[in-house]
Amino acid sequence: MSLSSSPFRASAAAALGRDRARGNIRRAMDGLVAKRAAAFADAAELERLRDQGRAIRDYALSRLPALLEQLEERCSANGIQVHWARDAAEANRIVVGLCRSYGTDAVLKGKSMVSEEIGLNAALAAAGIEPVETDLGELIIQLAHEHPSHIVAPAVHKDRAEIAALFRKHFPDQCATVTDPGIEALTALARRVMRERFGAVRVGLSGVNFAVAETGTLCLVENEGNGRMSTTAPDVHIAVTGIEKVVARLEHLAPLLTLLTRSATGQPVTTYVNLISGPRRAGERDGPREVHLVLVDNGRARIHADPELRETLRCIRCGACMNHCPVYARIGGHGYGTVYPGPIGAILEPQLQGLERQGELAEASSLCGACAEVCPVRIPIPSLLNRLRFEHAAGQAVPGGGRPGRQRWVWRAWSQLHASPRLYRGMTAAAARLRGLLDGPLASALGPWTRTRTPPRVAPASLHVLARREGFGDD
C-alpha cells in the first residue's frame, strides 16, 4: 500500500482545499456544540441518561438474535412484511424487486443513512426507478450529485448562495418568481416542488431510528414532515434498517429519544416522532396499504462477534461525535471519503469495509477524547480507534510499511530501539548526556514544530536510572 492509494489521505487532502465548505462546516459545528450544551444543562441528569442509553443498547445487542426474531414475529402479526439482506447487493435487490412488483417509476425517500451505505439510489436509478429525496438537505445534495457530508445535516457544507444556484439550475420555472435567495424562499421552493411528488408517487422509503421488538413498531424521528409524508401518503412504505437498530421494549424509547435529539441538534424533541406499527387496517382511510421492513446485515453480524468492537453497534446516529471532533471540523464529512464520517465513521468504516481498505481511517483522530465524552451511549471511540490502529499496524509486514521514505526509516528505527532493552537504555543514556544540544545548536532541527510550541526537554536521568537509584530491580 502506498500513500497515494490510501482513499482517506486523498479525500482529506482534497477536502482541505475547499475553503468555502470548510468555513460553512466550522460555523455549523460550533453552533451545534453550543446547542447541545444548552440542552443538557443538568450534568447529573445527562450522565444518568447516558447510563440508561448504554444499558438499553447493550441489552439489545446481547440478545440480538432473539430480539430480531421477536421483531419479525410482532411485525408480521401487525401486517408488516419482513425481509432479510446479508449484504448491500441483496438489500438493493429486495427494494428494487418490491418497486418493480408495484410498477412504480419513482420512490419518495425519507432520510436514510443505510440507503446511502448500500448505494440504493444508484441501484434504483440503474433499474429505471427515480429516487426522490424529500428531506431538504438530501434534496440539495442529490441535485449537486454529492453524498451527505454529515449524518444528521447532509448539506451542512453548502451555504445559501450555493443552494440558490443549484435550485435556479434545476427548477428554473419555479425560480422565475424567486429573486431573493433567502433561506425562507429556498425552503418554500422545496416545499412547492415536493408537494407535487407527495401527492403522486405511490411508493415511499425510509430508514428507521429504532425498531421495537416488543410491539413490532418502527420509530422514526424528523422535523420537516417529509418522513411522515413518505411513510403515510404513498400506497406502499418500505423501511430499510441495520439489524442493530432493534430495542427490546417500547419504554426504552423514552430515554433514547431524549438522548438522540438533544445530542444531535440540542432539541428537547423533534417536531415529529412517528411510531408505525402496521399498514392501513380495514376501516382506516389513509396510510400505506403495505409496509415492508428490510433488515440489513452488511457486516454487522461480523462486528457483533467481537465483544469489544460490538460497542460500535450501540450507536444511535446522533452525530454528536462529529460535531465535537477537531478533525471533522477541519476536513468535513467528504474528507473521510466514506458514507459514515467523523469519529463513528473512523471506527465503523474500517470494520464494515476491512482494515486493508479503510484501516488508515483509524488515524483520522488526535485521540483527544471529545467524541467519547459526548457519546450518548458511551461508545469508547478512542479505545476502539487504538485497537484498530494496532490491528492495522500488525497487519503490515514491515513497521511503518505504508509510509514514505524518510518516515518509514524513522518508524523502523523507533521500532527497533524500543524492541531491544540494550539499545533503548543506550539511547536514553545518550539523550540525557547530549540534552544540552537540544536547547542550543539542535533546537532548529525540530523545525517548524517549535515555532508555536515549547520544545520538549530531556530529563538528566531516565526513569530507569531513577528507579535503580531508589533500589528497584528490573522486575
Partner: protein, 219 residues
C-alpha cells in the same frame, strides 16, 4: 430469503455472549400540579413556534376567529371525531367553511393536498416537559389530517397534560400494543438544513394552533 435469515441469525447465535440484565428504568416523571403542567406545556410549545390559546366552552368561536385572521377559507374535520358535534354546534355562521373529511385518501387526495387551508383534530394527551401533542389517528380522524393542510388546529383537554412522554407510555401501557400509527407532534414542521437557520412549514403544517380547554374555566 429464508437463506439470508438463517445465515444472519446463525452467525449472530454462534458468537452470542450471555445476555445482560434488563436495564432498570424508573419512570421519569414530575409531580407538577395542573397549573404548572399547563404553564410548562405552553412555554415549551411556544419555544418551538407552536401557538397555544387557553379556551373555555366557546372554543369553536375562538378557533373561527383565529382562522379568519389567518385568511383561511375552510377547515377540514373528521365528522365522526369526538369533538365534531361540539365544533359544528358552536361554529359561527360567518366562520370558515367546515369541510367533512370522511373519505378514503384515494377519493379526496386532490382536495386534501390542494384545496384545504386548515385541518382540525382532537388529541390523546399533552406532554408538559416538551410541549408535545400525542395523536393516535383513527378512522374518524386519519393520519394525513394533521399533516397535509398548512395549518393544524388541535383541541387539547388541560386535564390530559402529563409531565413526560415516559409517564404516558407507562400509564397507558404502550408496550402492550399500539395503533397502526401513533404520533408525538411538537410544533409546526421545520428545517435547519440551510445554514442551520430554522424555517417553518417545510413539508408539514407551517402553523400549529393548540386550543387548551380548561374545565375549571366554566365557573
Amino acid at each position: 430469503m429464508t437463506e439470508a435469515r438463517t445465515a444472519i441469525l446463525g452467525g449472530l447465535r454462534r458468537t452470542a455472549a450471555a445476555p445482560g440484565p434488563m436495564p432498570e428504568l424508573p419512570v421519569r416523571r414530575f409531580d407538577w400540579d395542573l397549573d404548572e403542567r399547563l404553564d410548562r406545556f405552553q412555554q415549551a410549545l411556544a419555544a418551538v413556534h407552536g401557538e397555544v390559546h387557553r379556551v373555555g366552552a366557546d372554543w369553536p368561536r375562538v378557533l373561527a376567529g383565529l382562522l379568519q385572521q389567518a385568511g383561511a377559507a375552510n377547515l377540514r374535520y373528521g365528522p365522526g371525531g369526538p369533538l365534531a358535534a361540539a365544533l359544528t354546534a358552536g361554529w359561527p355562521a360567518d366562520g370558515a367553511r367546515l369541510v367533512p373529511h370522511d373519505q378514503a385518501v384515494e377519493d379526496c387526495r386532490g382536495d386534501l393536498f390542494d384545496a384545504t387551508d386548515a385541518g382540525f383534530t382532537s388529541c390523546r394527551a399533552g406532554i408538559a416537559e416538551t410541549g408535545s401533542l400525542v395523536l393516535w389517528p383513527t378512522p374518524a380522524e386519519p393520519r394525513l389530517l394533521s399533516l397535509i393542510p398548512p395549518m393544524h388546529c388541535v383541541l387539547l383537554e388541560a386535564a390530559r397534560i402529563v409531565s413526560t412522554l415516559h409517564e404516558l407510555m407507562a400509564a397507558e401501557v404502550w408496550g402492550g400494543g399500539l395503533p397502526t400509527n401513533a404520533l408525538v407532534i411538537t410544533g409546526p414542521s421545520k428545517s435547519a438544513d440551510i445554514e442551520q437557520t430554522l424555517t417553518y412549514g417545510v413539508h408539514g403544517p407551517a402553523r400549529l394552533i393548540v386550543l387548551v380547554r380548561d374545565e375549571r374555566r366554566r365557573a
